[in-house]
Amino acid sequence: MYAWLWRHLPGPTVVRVLILAVAALAVLAACFVWVFPAIAPYMPFSETTVGE
């Protein structure tokens, strides 16, 4: 998977590494901003309220 990605990236090694670093940061940022807040309520340790 990652080997395939590496083969299909353009440019010399330095450029490929830079592209991958930027992509990884983008994925992480998207997770922090959208994905994690959305899935947090469904985590098993988030059951903090009881019905009254």
């Binding site: 998977m1 080997a3 997770c31 994690f36 947090a40 340790f45 059951e47």
Partner: protein, 249 residues
């Protein structure tokens, strides 16, 4: 076995190994994402929570900034023990008070808002007030909830509280200085701790109580840490700042 068959087999083996490799890479990726989730939950929600809650308190036109030592010194509010003003319960998610606890030296004033559900109050606004319980200064039980870890963790240091410690609540009009009377650890379903008379639901309240509820142990939601307190005195905001916040008492 012919040479052709051998080549076929090795091609099949290579495909299988490739599939295993992809599965392995996916699992490593999943592991990294789970680690990232932990970092987000345990660290980033605090960064955001502290920033947002500070902005909320700064956005309250009446919230007092932390008293700064000056030459003449800030004015000390005279304690009053007569009937305090009591606010009406505000609409859901409206911030109506702040909490300052001198024992938690270094902690900022935290906003208190109406409601205790996580999505609209506890995760985003800090401390939440249990709807239907007394308001600050009122006869009964002013019961509030807050995160002990994550989302700004307003009640992170709750276990440091000792009997007699002041809990200072401020509204637009008045300061309410409560004193800790007891702490206890209960199960989440023990909701009688926020009854008008704690642990005696149905009894007619005569005292002006405060109750803090938060998770226990830390990083878990198995139990609840409960702090009870009783009103010591109140003072109009216009009269100055409680001595408890000025390094006195």
């Amino acid at each position: 076995m012919t040479r052709h068959a051998r080549r076929e087999q090795s091609r099949g083996t290579r495909a299988a190994l490739g599939a295993v490799g992809v599965v392995g890479e996916l699992m490593i990726t999943l592991g990294v994402l789970l680690l990232a989730f932990l970092v987000w939950q345990l660290w980033w929600t605090d960064v955001e929570g502290n920033r947002d809650q500070q902005a909320i308190v700064e956005g309250l036109p009446w919230a007092q900034p932390a008293p700064t030592p000056s030459a003449e010194g800030p004015r000390v509010a005279e304690p009053r023990h007569d009937e305090p003003p009591v606010l009406e319960e505000p609409a859901h998610a409206v911030t109506f008070a702040t909490l300052q606890v001198p024992r938690w030296d270094g902690e900022p004033a935290r906003p208190i808002s109406q409601g205790v559900d996580r999505a609209t109050v506890l995760d985003v606004l800090g401390i939440g007030h249990y709807p239907g319980t007394a308001m600050p200064g009122g006869v009964g039980n002013f019961a509030v909830a807050g995160h002990r870890t994550t989302y700004g963790k307003p009640f992170h240091r709750v276990a440091e509280l000792e009997v007699g410690d002041p809990l200072v609540v401020q509204t637009e009009e008045a300061w309410y200085v409560y004193r800790v009377t007891s702490t206890q650890i209960v199960r989440p379903q023990d909701v009688q701790v926020i009854a008008p008379v704690p642990d005696d639901p149905g009894a007619e309240p005569t005292e002006r109580m405060i109750t803090l509820t938060t998770c226990h142990p830390m990083y878990s939601a198995q139990e609840r840490f409960i702090v009870h307190g009783v009103l010591d005195y109140w003072a109009p905001v216009a009269d100055g700042t409680p001595a408890e916040l000025l390094g006195g008492a």
